[in-house]
Symmetry: C2
Subunit: 224 residues, 2 copies
């Protein structure tokens, strides 16, 4: 069954894409990558293509959305802000939050899915990240699925799947290992493109996840 998978190039979306591939047999998912002006976009894009190559995904769409840099307000897209190191307080929304990013990405994915006749959308939102991003919550995803089906053709029926939403990061690593996800090709660091910093929230969560799952993280880190 044809699907669209949102693939940033990070570890979560790589595992997500592997799940979409397994669930869609014999069809490979179509892969959507959104460049929203994040600091590490060039590195993420390389990861996107390398992961697609590994999975044999040929249907790829890379879209530039300078919009998010234009509106600013996030340390991921505003280079005048600093990407924080160390943990964010529970329940606080960190400065890396990009306003309604998953809403925009899902809208684009839905539009593409409708135009190619896909039946499922996959997004790697993780509610259990302690990051507090509102657009990663299950209630939001459920509502967005409804909105997408109301706002597309009557004969378009799209199921929104977020198989990672209730998983811990360690569970995601374990599932990825089971599915032979090429973690060495993924990129998670928010602040650097050459060697991962090991300090930003994204690196920190990733390192904790591999440690907890009991597998070595195959990528090198600057500060370790």
């Amino acid at each position: 069954m044809l699907s669209v998978a949102c693939l940033s190039g990070g570890m979560d979306s790589a595992v997500l894409t592997a799940i979409a591939a397994v669930e869609g047999v014999p069809d490979l998912p179509a892969a959507l990558h959104v460049n929203y002006g994040q600091r590490t976009e060039a590195r993420e894009l390389r990861a996107f293509h390398q992961i697609c190559d590994r999975f044999g995904i040929t249907r790829r769409l890379v879209t530039d959305l300078s919009f998010f840099r234009a509106i600013g307000g996030s340390s991921l897209t505003d280079h005048n802000l600093v990407v924080p190191e160390g943990p964010t307080k529970d329940s606080a929304i960190p400065s890396t939050y990009v306003p309604f990013r998953n809403g925009v990405i899902l809208s684009l994915a839905a539009a593409w899915a409708e135009s190619i006749g896909a039946r499922r959308l996959y997004i790697g939102a993780v509610q259990t990240d302690r990051t507090g991003y509102p657009d990663c919550r299950r209630e939001f995803l459920k509502s967005m699925e409804t909105s997408i089906n109301l706002g597309t053709r009557a004969d378009t029926s799209l199921e929104l799947r977020a198989p990672l939403v209730a998983m811990t990061k360690a569970d995601i690593v374990r599932r990825g290992v089971e599915l032979n996800v090429p973690f060495e090709l993924t990129w998670s660091c928010y602040s650097h493109e050459d060697v991962a910093c090991g300090k930003c929230e994204s690196c920190r969560l990733r390192l904790e996840a591999f440690a907890e799952a009991g597998f070595p993280d195959p990528i090198p880190y600057r500060n370790r």
Copy 2:
């Protein structure tokens, strides 16, 4: 009260922006224009800026979304397809439908609104157009409002207003005349940028609306 108005540059969105201005006093709306690769974009963008100038709107955001041209499938964005002339059958979705366009535009508007602290979103969707676009229906807009509020910060509260949704095109003209909307600056034609064709669905609905409202349409037409 600060709002974000989606302003394409057509007659509906110009009336919408006037309504947003009246309802937001003393704040003028911020105006969002999305270039989605439609044929007449350059002309629409000129209309956008001229309408903003007339209303005194300084907070403007123009965003390029080449995405819609990349996914294709609509005669508005795919120059290999022909923009149809004459009426579309009732309840059919015409070839000018752009997949989930209003979903994408509203997601962008919501992201911008959250980042600037706006409290309302205005979109000029018209359900009574006989065009059958699913993303102009009230049920969709209501659901999207819920999705937007679930997917943004807890202290972000956005009301989605679509004041034209139940109006006829003639009602929209009448309301625009009351509000001194500069219809001479607006652009509706789907197929031409110099002189409006008078034949495409958008020109046809506009001409009928002015005729029914009993006001002259101030722009010239090619085929009249």
